[in-house]
Amino acid sequence: MSGTKSRENRNGTREPHLLKDQWPSDSRDLAIRDALAIELLTACMTALRTYGLRKSKLTELARKAVTGNAESMNSAKAVLEAAQQLAEMIAKWGEHPRYLDESGRPAILSITGRKSSFQSLASEFFPTYAPSDVVNFGCEANAMERIGNDKVARLNDCVVFTGSSFLILAHSVRTVRRFLGTANFNRQPLIAIAAGRPDRTSCGEISDKDFSEFISVMRPQISDLVEMSNRWLGQRAKLPKNRGKRRKVAGVQAFLFFE
């Protein structure tokens, strides 16, 4: 593993290894590549073990993944499908004039009824479910809350996965896949900087207390960024040129970290 270490100069301080554009080109580069691959796999394995997967099970699953014998590559999509539908329903609640109050914010809706009711909204996204089931699902996801027996109010502008291991694991799978897709795109040789997909990081060493403050500072900024992107994408998706079959999912994802 010596390849992963940075070199020491005459003063004893470490110098970062300057990478070449294309690699591997020699055995040292190959060693670095392998070390990075192990690090990526270890990070995934460590995370998966927190979900109750033992080493033996992970080995078996890893073998299946390597040989391409995995049963489905759409498990994350399936798990998140209902949450995705709920997110789209929540977005429409905050956007469509029929579901807004006079101040332009999501209105309180009657659960049943024809026009401007929760039933009419829910039937578009969950056509096979009873409105009461959708209300229960939405309340569990902290997206809405009941008011009395027959009305609901929108609580959040997104679906919160917090507290659900199933949803968080599926979300992690989708996030890693999307990030690797962006990383793969950006590592293409000779790609123009302006043509690359933006990927920015900021970090600094701070205390637990300051991290709490960092969360409260960044939460509205991130929410607004994502909401702005969502509005733009939603409007573009409705255009005729984007209604064809050759469509791909585009988006932006942002999260805070504390290592």
Partner: protein, 261 residues
């Protein structure tokens, strides 16, 4: 009593508390007594603190202190954060009362946590929630929605309508804008930021949505700038007042109907 009642109502509208009003009244009382006694006397000598004390019933030590400066609310009496402001701060900052975007939630007026009742009893335990709500509604800071739900509309206590303060704000904002515009004409190489987005036309029924959107985006942006520039502001505290300059950033929305253009 009849003369004082409207004054008390006005003070309530302005968010002035009883101790603040008492402190202000005492100051005005002492200053006016000095003027009154001076008019009564044929001598050119100013009335003594003891005499003013006897007439007003305020201890002579306080009389001296009060007369040393113009009438104002004593610092000790000033409510650093009055009831309404304290509750508003909590509504904007306590995670239990925020949505997933970090913005204040709409709350049911009564009921279990989180509700306006729970917010008020937690942060303003000495005052009935109904009294605090009345104060906030009068100031236009809380909007009553259907189903007894409440929406907060601002975090700073501000009196609406043509008041001395609101007219002063118009003058202040206009001056700031004119200063920036004239500065940019005189010094194009050291321009201060002054940009406008392309004017768009929207359908009239969409105006509330657009206003709400601009409000939320601009508020988030300004809060972000404030946090980012906080380091610069704290760094300048070590330097002398002469070496500092006030920097501000204001965003405002414009609307213009077809008849106005």
């Amino acid at each position: 009593m009849s003369a004082v009642e409207p004054l008390v109502e006005l003070l309530l509208e302005l968010g002035v508390t009883s101790p603040e009003a008492e402190s202000l009244l005492r100051g005005v009382f002492v200053h006016k007594t000095r003027e009154w006694l001076a008019r009564q006397s044929s001598s050119t000598v100013e009335p003594s603190d003891v005499r003013i004390s006897l007439v007003t019933g305020v201890h002579r030590n306080f009389v001296r202190r009060i007369l040393a400066e113009p009438p104002k609310i004593a610092e000790a009496r000033k409510h650093k954060s009055n009831h309404a402001s304290r509750l508003l701060q909590a509504w904007y900052n306590d995670p239990a009362y925020l949505d997933s975007s970090g913005k204040p939630r709409d709350l049911p007026e009564k009921g279990s946590h989180p509700s306006f009742q729970s917010l008020s009893t937690t942060y303003v335990p000495s005052v009935a929630p109904g009294v605090v709500l009345d104060q906030l509604r009068r100031a236009g800071l809380v909007q009553m929605l259907s189903e007894h739900r409440l929406r907060v509309r601002g975090r700073t206590f501000r009196v609406h309508g043509f008041t001395r303060n609101s007219i002063a704000e118009v003058g202040h904002r206009t001056r700031e804008l004119l200063e920036t515009l004239t500065h940019n004409i005189h010094q194009p190489d050291a321009r201060r930021f002054c940009e406008t987005m392309r004017v768009i036309e929207v359908e009239l029924p969409r105006i509330p949505v657009i206003r709400d959107l601009i409000n939320r985006r601009a508020t988030t942006f300004l809060a972000g700038m404030e946090h980012e520039l906080a380091v610069e502001a704290s760094r300048s505290l070590g330097t002398k007042r002469k070496g500092r300059i006030n920097v501000g950033l204001t965003i405002y929305q414009t609307e213009r109907g077809p008849k106005q253009s």
